[in-house]
């Protein structure tokens, strides 16, 4: 099988799995998850084969794997869609395939496969546990299997299809197709437990917020297509096309390329939950944990960054190297601001998943900021390392929650929130695998020097920012990095270290192999993946391992980016903030025993700067008010229907006026009745001559004859 054919086939198994499960196997849990995991494994194998073959191609950047077919007729030409695996695509495909497979596997355990059906479980709500009686006659409450188990795998399959489609696309339109399918799946999966009103609302919020970005992106796609006549990446990213776009002015002082890039970037803002469209992501934690991992780490939010990385040549088309363009400034600003902004909120969150959610927003801000300042490779590198360790963290947190739920079921106290970190503590003994893998993930996120992948990628971004003189970005990101380390350590400390703070935490249990295996695999990559991108001039380590990542991914661009000169300042900063954050976090939180002792529970941060409330007040409510009162009640029902309804009375008025003033008096009375009356009157008068007497008739006839005859004679004949 040629590589191109294989690439075409990669997205298909999950899609087929989706249809198979939905249409045929949804009654059977075993069959459904077999199909789901099997499909993910097939795609994984395909992806790995493609990845390995891609590694073996020299100058993959110039001659990537690509293949296209006619899809849409557009006038005299065809719009072609196809697949493309260039170095960037291969690198992304690699981590996507791994994380997706891991998430599929993890889901089996997470949804309690093999456990009995719940006592009171209903579709649309999380399982509540089942009572079983063991051989000694003791009753135990154990976790129960998810009632919509099969459906979950179907949705995951569709999600995976979306992501694979996005990655292998050779054009913006199919990228957008995959992008939107993921949007749908995130909607379906966040709202998986649709019985919970919070989940239901979170799903709508996620879809709508990302859709705001999507419509801009669609506009950007339309603009790009209109301006260049193509959406295929490799046709757009040619010298002439980019130059033409960069030299055409568009609106608001931007070049066409900058404007299009900005429109596309707004799509990313929505998808990657950047400020100001970040509000959906924390709420999206309502979904099952594998979903959070899927959405936040491996796929959907990464897709946003991936899209910007893909469109990097467009973004920087009018970038001369001196001074950021308007678009790049905006991108850099939003990225840096989001990185800091989300990190501050994360410090004050107590829900284990929400901390990770804000951390994700913050880290995505890192990547966006990196792209804004033109650090292409660094952004891609951080995207991948982040995907690994953030998936790890999410799955780890899921494992923690799962363990806590065990405890909750054991004690039977359902008022204890298994996601609240203040209900945990001391879990390292109960859940050792989860602890160690979570620790690795956390340190990677914090950027623990040298050993973790997060350190290398984050360091590269800081180095890029410093090296190109974007000091504001550098400082902002450094502060954010410090906060990241701080809240990460806070999380680890509160969750795993110390002593259990609740009864439930004491009875927490390690999770089954299906859940821990993905943690271990991901932990492996969270450490090792950093080593493929060690800068060449790094002290001691530099050059031991070639900076493969830079070479490989960098070759995607027509103009290979230069590796940044080594500078100790960003390195020291990076080590300093990471180490400092971790140590401070540990020092402070090892002593905190309850929420009330936590000094960082600042209302402003706790309430996420009141963005939800503000948006609700500024946009959601006015929109509904506008829709209901202005558009529907005032315009449609009032004005338009009012005018229409006025036709009725008007017509009736005209009609009755015609009737009352013309028809009745003039036509009826005067002409109609009048002629009858005249005839009647004449008849009444004339009937006097109808005597019935023959002679009188005769006389009358004669008189008439004579008169007429005389008249005729004298007036006509004479």
């Amino acid at each position: 099988m040629t590589t191109e054919t294989l690439i075409w086939l990669i997205p298909l198994p999950p899609l087929l799995a989706f249809f198979l499960i939905v249409l045929f196997t949804n009654k059977s849990k075993a069959l459904s998850h077999t199909i789901g995991v099997g499909a993910a494994a097939l795609s994984f194998i395909g992806s790995m084969v493609v990845f390995v073959r891609a590694l073996g191609v020299e100058h993959l950047g110039e001659s990537p794997f690509e293949s296209a077919v006619n899809w849409l007729p557009t006038g005299d030409t065809w719009f072609r869609i196809g697949v493309l695996i260039d170095p960037l695509g291969a690198a992304v495909l690699f981590f996507v395939a791994i994380t997706i497979l891991m998430i599929f596997l993890y889901s089996v355990g997470y949804h309690n496969y093999g456990q009995p059906a719940g006592d009171h479980d209903v579709k649309g709500l999380p399982p509540h546990g089942a009572t079983i009686t063991d051989e000694h006659g003791h009753k135990h409450v154990v976790p129960s299997v998810e009632p919509m188990y099969s459906r979950f795998f179907a949705f995951l399959g569709l999600f995976a299809f979306g992501m694979y489609t996005l990655v292998v696309s050779d054009n913006l339109l199919t990228l957008f197709v995959g992008w939107e399918i993921m949007g749908l799946c995130s909607y379906l999966l966040i709202g998986f437990w649709y019985g919970k009103p919070s989940a239901r609302d979170a799903a709508v919020k996620a879809f709508m917020t990302t859709r705001i970005g999507d419509v801009f992106m669609l506009l950007g796609i339309a603009f790009l297509y209109s301006a260049t006549g193509t959406l295929t990446f490799r046709e757009i990213f040619t010298e002439e096309t980019l130059h033409a776009l960069a030299s055409t002015p568009a609106w608001f002082g931007m070049t066409t390329s900058g404007f299009i890039a900005l429109l596309l970037f707004i799509g990313t803002v929505g998808k990657s939950a950047q400020w100001p469209l970040h509000v959906w992501l924390p709420d999206a934690m309502e979904g099952p944990t594998p979903v959070s991992a899927m959405i936040h780490a491996a796929t959907m939010v990464s897709a946003g960054v991936y899209a910007v990385i893909r469109m990097f040549p467009l973004l920087t088309a009018d970038y001369t190297g001196h001074g950021l363009t308007v678009t790049m400034s905006i991108v850099a600003f939003i990225g840096a601001f989001t990185a800091l902004f989300a990190a501050t909120i994360a410090v004050a969150q107590n829900d284990i998943k929400r901390v990770l959610a804000y951390s994700t927003i913050s880290q995505l801000g890192y990547m966006i900021a990196a792209l804004g300042i033109g650090a292409y490779v660094a952004a891609a590198f951080h995207l991948i390392t982040h995907a690994f360790f953030k998936a790890l963290l999410f799955l780890g947190s899921g494992s923690v929650i799962h363990g806590m739920e065990h405890g909750v079921l054991h004690t039977g106290n359902h008022h204890v929130d298994p996601q609240d970190m203040y209900n945990m503590g001391g879990l390292r003994k109960k859940m050792p695998i989860t602890f160690w893998t979570f620790l690795i993930g956390g340190f990677a996120l914090a950027g623990f020097p040298l050993v973790t992948a997060g350190f290398w990628s984050k360091d590269e971004i800081l180095a890029d920012a410093f090296g190109h003189g974007h000091l504001a970005v550098f400082v902002t990101l450094a502060i954010a990095a410090f906060l990241t380390a701080f809240y990460t350590m806070r999380q680890i400390t509160l969750t795993f270290l110390g002593e259990p703070r609740t009864e439930e935490a004491k009875h927490a249990q390690e999770t089954p192999w299906t859940m821990t295996t993905p943690l271990i695999v991901l932990a492996f990559f969270a450490v090792t993946y950093g080593w493929v991108g060690i800068p060449e001039h790094f002290p001691l380590l530099g050059g031991l391992v070639p900076n493969w990542f830079h070479e490989f991914v960098g070759s995607t661009l027509a103009e290979h980016p230069e590796a940044i000169e080594f500078n100790p300042i960003p390195l020291l900063t990076s080590i300093g903030v990471a180490g400092g954050g971790l140590i401070l976090g540990w020092l402070y939180y090892r002593n905190v025993k309850s929420v009330s002792e936590d000094k960082f529970q600042i209302p402003l941060l706790k309430n996420k700067y009141y963005f939800d409330e503000a948006y609700n007040f500024l946009f959601v409510k006015p929109a509904y008010w506008f829709a209901e009162n202005i558009v529907y009640k005032f315009l449609d029902k009032g004005v338009i229907d009012g005018i229409l309804h006025a036709f009725g009375p008007f017509t009736q008025g005209t009609g009755s006026a015609l009737r009352n003033y013309i028809d009745l008096p003039v036509i009826n009375r005067a002409i109609g009745d009048g002629s009858a009356e005249i005839t009647y009157w004449f008849g009444g008068k004339l009937r006097a001559i109808q005597t019935g007497r023959v002679q009188q008739y005769l006389m009358l006839a004669l008189v008439t004859f004579i008169v007429i005859g005389a008249a005729l004679y004298f007036f006509v004949l004479a």
């Binding site: 002679q695 006389m699 004669l702 005859g709 005389a710």
Partner: protein, 175 residues
């Protein structure tokens, strides 16, 4: 004034006078008799016009049949009409006026006609008017059609008269 003229004037005067009596006499039997007289005068007039056959027919049909029919009718209906009440209706003056006007009108019209003073050509000696009339009546190129129509009319009138005058009550009693 020739003899013919004198004869004509006398006959005409007599006829008109008789006619006048017909329309003015109170007694209907008298009126019917005066009609006979007037019809006889007309017959004489026919003779002066050499229309001998017409004169004969006048005497036979009119005087012999029609006038007698009148007298019968008068006698059949005279029970309440004998002599009482006026014989003229109240508009008789208008009738008179109209009659005068008609005569005046006719006279006026005739006067303006150039054929008015025409005199007759002498009657052809060997002309057999009766046979001519007979063949004209029955000749296909003559007047056979009006003649037949007249005969049909007569039959119809006969049937109609019988029907109208027939008294059903009497018919019933006859049975």
């Amino acid at each position: 004034m020739t003899g013919e003229q004198i004869v004509f004037l006398v006959v005409a005067f007599f006829t008109l006078a008789a006619g006048f009596m017909v329309v003015t006499t109170r007694n209907l039997v008298h009126a019917a008799l005066w009609l006979v007289a007037a019809l006889f005068g007309v017959a004489v007039t026919y003779v002066t016009l050499h229309a001998n056959f017409l004169a004969v027919v006048q005497v036979v049909v009119y005087i012999g049949a029609i006038a007698i029919l009148f007298i019968f009718a008068v006698m059949l209906t005279r029970r309440d009409m004998r002599d009482q009440g006026p014989q003229m209706n109240k508009n008789w003056w208008l009738g008179a006026l109209l009659a005068v006007l008609t005569f005046g009108g006719l006279y006026f019209l005739l006067q303006g006609w150039e054929g008015m003073t025409k005199t007759a050509t002498s009657y052809p000696v060997s002309f057999d008017a009766i046979s001519e009339l007979g063949s004209a009546l029955v000749s296909p190129v003559g007047y056979v059609l009006p003649f037949e129509v007249a005969s049909v009319l007569l039959v119809a009138a006969l049937v109609g008269a019988v029907y109208v005058a027939f008294n059903p009550r009497n018919g019933d009693t006859r049975k």
